[in-house]
Assembly symmetry: C2
Homo-oligomer: 237 residues x 2
């Protein structure tokens, strides 16, 4: 096998890739893709990612049974049911429901990746499930870090590095960003939370009072569902 594993460190760099050649994993650890994995695991029928708050609001008129979730700058947008805290995606809230979701970074990355061969959603929650699935695809893999407002962030890069760690032994060839992500993951893996405490984003999230969310987002292998984009909806693979 002679397939690549590459890491796109921010959505701003996506134009540098022939996205059609890749299976894409979208990563937004704090908190969009963690919550998507958790929601799909907990029986959400589908999650519809939309790029803009207005698009999300427009669904209110289409189908009143939808849950509308909108987050900007880490906070729930006024007038919406909820944002992207994983604690809003428990079974009692989402089972059997369709959620329309827009977030600062994660849904942006998803939309820019839509020409990929396939798009799946990754987080520490489904690390083993998604790496096992990727191993069997025999396709070039692009790990798309959602970052923070188009710039690099550490938490998404660490998770990309965790996936590279699992896949490089399967013969996938890493590029420079994948090597860097992998080395950073190996530095941080024994204490992800401690490592991330030194980041700026961690400070920002602490101010928002969501440390409980952060701890939740760093749980490894608590779910097995793999959300996949079908048409304009994320559903269980």
């Amino acid at each position: 096998m002679n397939k690549k594993i590459q890491v796109c460190l921010t959505p701003a760099l996506l134009p540098l890739y022939n996205i059609e050649d890749f299976v894409v994993v979208v990563i937004d650890i704090f908190r969009a893709t963690t919550s998507i994995c958790y929601g799909i695991e907990n029986g959400a029928k589908a999650i519809i990612p939309v790029a803009h708050v207005e698009e999300c609001a427009a669904y209110r008129n289409i189908e009143c049974d939808y849950l509308l979730a909108a987050e900007r700058d880490g906070e729930i947008v006024a007038g919406f049911d909820f944002g992207n805290s994983p604690f809003s995606y428990t079974a009692d809230k989402v089972a059997g429901k369709t959620i329309v979701l827009t977030t600062t970074n994660g849904t942006h990355a998803l939309h820019l990746s839509r020409k990929a061969k396939k798009i799946v959603i990754g987080s520490f929650l489904n690390l083993t499930a998604i790496s096992n699935w990727l191993k069997n695809q025999h396709e070039n893999i692009l790990l798309v870090c959602s970052g923070w407002k188009n710039n690099f962030n550490l938490e998404d890069t660490l998770f990309a590095g965790a996936l590279v760690e699992r896949l490089k032994s399967e013969g996938f060839r890493p590029d420079d960003p994948a090597i860097a992500a992998n080395d950073l993951y190996n530095l941080a893996k024994n204490d992800l939370d401690g490592y991330l405490k030194k980041t700026s984003h961690s400070e920002r999230l602490k101010k928002l009072g969501i440390e409980r969310d952060i701890a939740f987002c760093l749980n490894v292998d608590t779910t097995t569902a793999i959300p996949v984009l079908e048409g304009d909806m994320l559903v269980k693979l």
Copy 2:
């Protein structure tokens, strides 16, 4: 002091920064900024960075005494005196001369940074000189990695990390890319050459037969000159 040290991992991310707020260090380790440091150390009167090969060629008609240097994809462009190998920037070749230079990545990053408060040129060759100078500027510092064709590369990131290492103890606050660069540098610092051997760029450069250049570019503190942009020319600070 409450100043920032930030790392822009590729020129494609420069639009995310208010470049006017920063003193910028442009970094293109293999090989443009290494050769610029070496050339200025060796008595070049000035180096004029230009973005396009045509611009470089146009200088032939202005002043026949200029040395014209053009590199694309790692090779000297046909019809030019030389490219960006540091061995072309020895005292016997450049002392007293003005060089017009265009390269794939380094001069591109320089041009995109031109609204900065000040632009200086960094490489492992002048690491201590440039960090000591930066410490005394009391300005926000942005380390601009030239990367490879607008994407991330490891060698520029490692050098950025070396500068962060020297400056963080002086109270400069790193952002996420600076933390990542610094951690990668600390992983690699005892064997930079060995660390970089695993990169894709290293493979590419090996094919070009320039391993001797690569080894030269990883020499630390062999020069003390700091090239600074004045108008459209790089001169000795």
